[in-house]
């Protein structure tokens, strides 16, 4: 339909990309935001017309996707596994539309490219850092919800810790929410009180609470660490408490695949799996601030082992 002319949708001249977030904002400082940053970079570099929609309920996802599709948007991204079924339905009823989905392994739908990350591989490296650097031999993992994606983080991390420090203990707390900062803080407090000195989290906004608790303890003169997730969280929470971050390069993936798609070779029907090998996951470049060289070189060794298949990182704990 016509949108009153405000949206210069691609009627030929410049290509357009749409994006539908999962519940939550495009500025969630997490993968929604990463994806959006990827698109904005595309806009700068190639002048694509980019736009997003934030559905207010699960039911609104399909209409939102369709809004783009009906607008002849050249490529429409959905930025979370939870949108998988919606993408599938829309793709099947609109065969000539191009769609992409992040964090999903949706296969065999000709006009959908799905990007999935091997979080467990990245988390393994985080585990190596934690396992080596812990002084109490107690590290913690805080998960948002007990769902497959998060379990991959959990499994990889635990494996990494065990690999370098068999007698280290991994305490686990699935908080049950991705945006209850106060619960994250409480979870962290409990772990630190129990002697944990490094916490790795995969819990979205809930994780902020972990950083807050760490910061508070740091201010009180007690050094404890947090390992960030998805983005380089040291940029937001500083280096006093951020040991390192396990990166998930959603922005890069979205950037690359979108560009491919709009310049001819759309990998429809494929599942693009991004692990260490493809530089889809890894540790933040700023890691060297708090992580010593020998630890980092150990990390590099394990990275090689994983890439050349000598180490098989589990996907479930």
């Amino acid at each position: 339909g016509n949108e009153g002319g405000t949206t210069s949708t691609s009627d030929g001249e410049q290509a357009s990309i749409g994006m539908v977030t999962d519940l939550g904002s495009v500025n969630d400082k997490s993968f929604n935001q990463s994806a959006w940053e990827g698109l904005q970079k595309l806009k700068e570099d190639h002048g694509y017309d980019v736009k997003y929609l934030e559905p207010q309920s699960d039911a609104e996802v399909e209409p939102s996707l369709l809004q783009f599709v009906n607008n002849k948007t050249d490529l429409t991204w959905a930025t979370a596994a939870t949108l998988e079924d919606a993408v599938k339905n829309i793709a099947e009823t609109n065969p000539d539309a191009k769609l992409g989905i992040v964090d999903s392994a949706l296969e065999g739908v000709a006009n959908v490219v799905s990007v999935s990350f091997k979080e467990n591989e990245g988390a393994f490296l985080a585990g190596v850092v934690a396992g080596t650097m812990t002084e109490s031999d107690k590290v913690g993992f805080v998960g948002g919800m007990e769902i497959p994606v998060i379990q991959r983080f959990h499994a990889g991390f635990a494996a990494g810790v065990k690999a370098v420090n068999p007698d280290a203990e991994v305490l686990v707390n699935y908080v049950g929410a991705f945006n209850r900062v106060d619960m994250g803080k409480s979870a962290a407090a409990t772990m630190y009180d129990a002697g944990v000195d490094i916490i790795f989290h995969a819990s979205g906004g809930t994780g902020n609470g972990i950083f807050n608790e760490a910061q508070e303890r740091f201010n009180a003169g007690k050094q404890v660490w947090v390992i960030g997730v998805d983005k380089d969280q040291s940029l937001e929470f500083g280096n006093d408490i951020t040991l390192t971050s396990m990166m998930k390069y959603v922005d890069q993936a979205v950037y690359d695949i979108s560009h491919e798609a709009l310049t001819g070779q759309f990998p429809g029907g494929e599942v693009v799996r991004l692990g260490l090998n493809e530089n889809g996951v890894g540790l933040a470049d700023t890691s060297d601030i708090n992580v010593s060289q020998e630890v980092l070189s150990k990390v590099e060794e394990y990275k090689e082992e994983i890439i050349n298949g000598n180490i098989e990182v589990p996907e479930t704990p």
């Binding site: 500025n27 007990e146 305490l171 699935y174 900062v181 106060d182 409990t190 772990m191 902020n208 807050n212």
Partner: protein, 317 residues
């Protein structure tokens, strides 16, 4: 033993926000005005607390910022309280509807303002000067009690003060007598030559601001900023605390503590590997089930103010 102390300490952290929210609810209900808007007032408090502290920081007020945030929350939530007063007192709107409106309006208005003030952001900028736990000299060194009670946030002691003073005012002073009378039988207060409208007006105004302190507490002690999920149902739990506490300040405190305990204990139990067998959901259920059980055990005795929810009109006998 130390573990238990930590749990109690954690319980208090959760409880304080609830207690403040509940005290607000209790006050207006003591004056005969049902308050289902606690959630909304807490949202408003969280929002204004966050931006208040944020702007204070931008003015380099440093350690003063959280206090400013607290005040901002207290004062500006008056906007919503005033709306509530207008609806329930002047226009004699149904109290429950008005509460629903407050919840809807404050949620949407604040989220909207966040996007407006911080160009599209999903949350307010994080503040670096949050409240910190203060160790009360000497007391905090008492073995068990020290950790449990005397290493907490300023807001904890503020809440405690409000409870003590509030209880004194409500049960020992003329104004308290009049407020309680208004909730029980406005007719008698009116014919005793007291302005019922005035009493209700100020009770409700203050009620909103008190609840706001609860919301602000969450932001200023734990979250560090405000997002659309900062207050996610705590307001309703607070209402439960009011009923659990039978409309008495100390009762409300115990109600809040009970729920806080159920929250804190769930983090503690989860990190014991021996509990891996239990599905995590069981822990999530805990707080709500415990509250229900508490209600079952006390419920039958709870006694609401007699004129709760009614509109007073002197010409009607």
């Amino acid at each position: 033993m130390e573990v238990l102390a930590n749990v109690i300490n954690g319980s208090i952290v959760f409880a304080v926000a609830l207690a403040l929210g509940a005290l607000g609810g209790m006050l207006s209900e003591r004056a005969g005005v049902i308050n289902l808007g606690v959630e909304g007032f807490m949202i408003s408090g969280a929002f204004f607390g966050a931006i208040g502290a944020h702007y204070a920081e931008t003015l380099n007020l440093g350690g003063l910022s959280p206090w400013i945030g607290l005040m901002t929350a207290f004062i500006f939530t008056g906007l919503f309280s005033f709306l509530y007063v207008m609806a329930t007192l002047k226009f004699k709107a149904d109290h429950v509807i008005s509460g629903v409106v407050i919840n809807l309006l404050s949620a949407n208005a604040t989220f909207f303002l966040v996007k407006l003030l911080f160009d599209g952001a999903a949350d307010t900028p994080r503040i670096s000067n949050m409240f910190r736990r203060i160790n009360i000299p000497l007391l905090s060194d008492i073995p068990f009690l020290g950790i449990a009670f005397f290493r907490s946030y300023p807001t904890t002691y503020l809440a405690l003060a409000i409870i003590v003073i509030g209880s004194y005012i409500l049960f020992k002073t003329p104004i308290g007598l009049r407020v309680r009378g208004t909730g029980e039988n406005p007719g008698s207060v009116d014919t005793a030559g007291i302005n019922v409208y005035k009493i209700k007006f100020w009770s409700v105004m203050l009620s909103g601001s008190l609840s706001a302190l609860g919301g602000a507490t969450i932001v200023l002690t734990s979250n560090g900023n405000f997002s659309f999920n900062t207050i996610a149902g705590q307001g309703y739990i607070a209402i439960a605390a009011v009923i659990l506490g039978r409309w008495k300040p100390y009762g409300v405190m115990w109600g809040a503590l009970l729920f806080g305990f159920a929250q804190a204990i769930k983090d503690q139990i989860q990190i014991f590997p021996s509990f891996d067998a239990i599905p995590t959901e069981v822990f999530y259920l805990l707080p709500y089930v415990i509250t229900l059980i508490a209600l079952i055990l006390t419920g039958s005795k709870s006694k609401a103010p007699k004129a709760l929810g009614t509109h007073y009109d002197s010409s009607v006998k």
